[in-house]
């Protein structure tokens, strides 16, 4: 049963130490709930283990800078055309977070394993990369049994405690529409629960529209939804709105230093009321 929540109630469903899955922040398929991310920071969470599916930028960087994160795995993390993810780069250098080196298809395979209730998944390529060596305590190379003589990498399932996404539409039955967003889909299927903010209510049942049906994330996966127009800001959100370039530049500049980042958090996160 999907609950309707305000953003602070939604954020309250994430706990210290959780494995938290975040979808990509790249291009017009970004689906990041920035409004809920600010609520997570206000909540003062600690020791989150972030799984970026498979990439992130300002969202993961803010959580890291705010001291919410213990470990992170990703294919890529940066502010894209605004440069490196400054809090991430700084935190790993100071040893404040543990970076579990990974790559996009390994994360995809690990979530696919969890989605199917499997303990692991083979994935092609990657052999010969130092990532395999750096993950040697978890990853394993076996010989293909069908037929032998073909080494192949196994990655264990990743089952996030929570997936946090932003969607264009939700209906009163708790279904949300994610379109062809494969990042959000595999993440939500793999996670124990999905928390979603969304732009607009859909009148009726999303499953009644055959054009939309294959892009619906059914209510059974969705623990809570919160109606948050412009919930991806300052990131863009598909056809809905472009990223706020000025705000992104502001963040990229201020997050370069501890003091700048602290003042950014104060102004944009702590001293604002976003309860809707």
């Amino acid at each position: 049963m999907t609950a309707e929540a305000n953003v602070e109630e939604l954020a309250a469903l994430v706990n210290n130490g959780d494995v938290l899955g975040l979808p990509t922040s790249t291009g017009d398929y970004a689906a990041c709930s920035m409004v809920a991310t600010r609520a997570l920071i206000r909540r003062g969470l600690k020791d989150l283990n972030l799984v970026l599916v498979p990439s992130s930028g300002i969202q993961a960087d803010m959580l890291i800078g705010a001291g919410c994160v213990r470990s992170i795995q990703n294919g890529v993390i940066s502010l894209s055309e605004y440069g490196a993810a400054p809090r991430y780069v700084d935190a790993q250098r100071r040893g404040r977070i543990l970076v579990k080196e990974s790559t996009c298809p390994a994360i995809e395979a690990a979530l696919t394993a969890a989605e199917r209730g499997l303990p692991f998944m083979p994935v092609r390529g990657i052999l010969g990369s130092d990532i395999v060596r750096l993950r040697a305590n978890e990853w394993m190379v076996i010989d293909n049994p069908y037929p032998p003589g073909d080494p192949i990498l196994l990655v264990p399932a990743i089952k996030p405690d929570a997936a946090l996404i932003h969607a264009p539409l939700a209906d009163r039955f708790g279904n949300i529409w994610i379109g062809r967003n494969g990042h959000a889909r595999v993440l939500s299927h793999a996670a124990k629960m999905t928390l979603a903010t969304f732009e607009r209510w859909y009148e009726g049942n999303l499953f009644d529209d055959p054009v939309r049906a294959s892009g619906v994330l059914p209510a059974q996966y969705v623990r809570a939804i919160s109606h948050q127009p412009r919930g991806a800001w300052p990131l863009g959100f598909g056809d809905e709105y472009p990223e706020d370039a000025e705000e992104m530049r502001t963040y990229a500049e201020r997050a370069k230093t501890d003091e700048g980042f602290a003042s950014y958090l104060r102004e944009r996160v702590h001293d604002v009321a976003e309860v809707v």
Partner: protein, 251 residues
């Protein structure tokens, strides 16, 4: 003298001749331009899958389906950069320093550890041709240039394009070969700025400038197509094309 960027795009475009389906990752404006140009010049036979805008992403699932397509051999061309590249065509997108607290931390390996091994005819490129980028041995291997014979590896590198020259890569020898030097540069200069050993073609060429038809297609159509994904890049490229046309008229 032709702009470095136009020469670079022209070289990438030529390296796509005869390909079936090119995959372009995110944050890759010059490769995306080359792909769109190669498609226009191919009479629309080249297929493109490019991250960044839905108009170039013909997938019903924008994540899993990319790796599924790569593993099934549906792509036969790919472009890949690296913070460091070594003489065995290993690339480093991780960083420099002692893991896990790296002094230099790059954004990450992305999909390269798989895509480099699955997609044939991968073209490596760097925007800076120096000994700090082209190194004897990368600090970390994000994706390896060659694999031993037992490893399933349909993909791999065929070339490395830099602002100074074009190398080919031999899978059998596991080495680069200098094929052509860009106008205004020399083989001696390439050697001075390259940190790894490589072979040199017996008939060393000058890298050819983009053809007239490339310019015309770029101007008439492709700039428009690229601007959908990379508006800022397109604006500066437009200026390069304008200068080039003005020079052609003056001559």
């Amino acid at each position: 003298m032709i702009s470095e960027r136009l020469l670079f795009i022209g070289t990438l475009t030529r390296l796509l001749a005869g390909r079936r389906h090119v995959f372009i990752g995110g944050a890759s404006p010059a490769p995306a331009t080359a792909a769109l140009l190669a498609r226009a010049l191919s009479g629309e036979t080249l297929e493109i899958t490019a991250l960044g805008d839905k108009r170039y992403l013909f997938l019903s699932n924008d994540y899993s389906e990319i790796f599924n397509c790569a593993a099934n051999g549906r792509y036969d061309a790919f472009f890949m950069g690296g913070g460091q590249i070594d003489g065995q065509a290993n690339i480093n997108l991780i960083g420099i320093g002692k893991h896990p607290t790296l002094e230099v931390r790059w954004p990450g390996s992305r999909g390269t550890p798989m895509l480099y091994m699955m997609i044939p005819n991968t073209v490596l490129f760097v925007e800076e041709h120096t000994r700090r980028v082209l190194v004897p041995r990368v600090d970390y291997i994000s994706a390896c240039g060659t694999s031993d014979a037992r490893v399933h590896r349909p993909g791999g590198p065929i070339a490395l394009v830099t602002p100074r020259c074009v190398f080919s890569f031999s899978r059998e020898r596991g080495r680069f070969k200098l094929e052509s030097v860009n106008p205004g540069h020399s083989a001696a200069e390439v050697s001075e700025h390259t940190g790894f050993d490589y072979d040199v073609a017996t008939q060393l060429q000058q890298t050819p400038a983009p053809s007239r038809s490339m310019f015309e297609m770029l101007n008439a159509r492709v700039l428009n197509e690229v601007s959908v994904i990379y508006p800022q890049f397109t604006r500066s490229l437009q200026e390069d094309v304008r200068v080039e046309f003005a020079a052609a008229v003056a001559n």
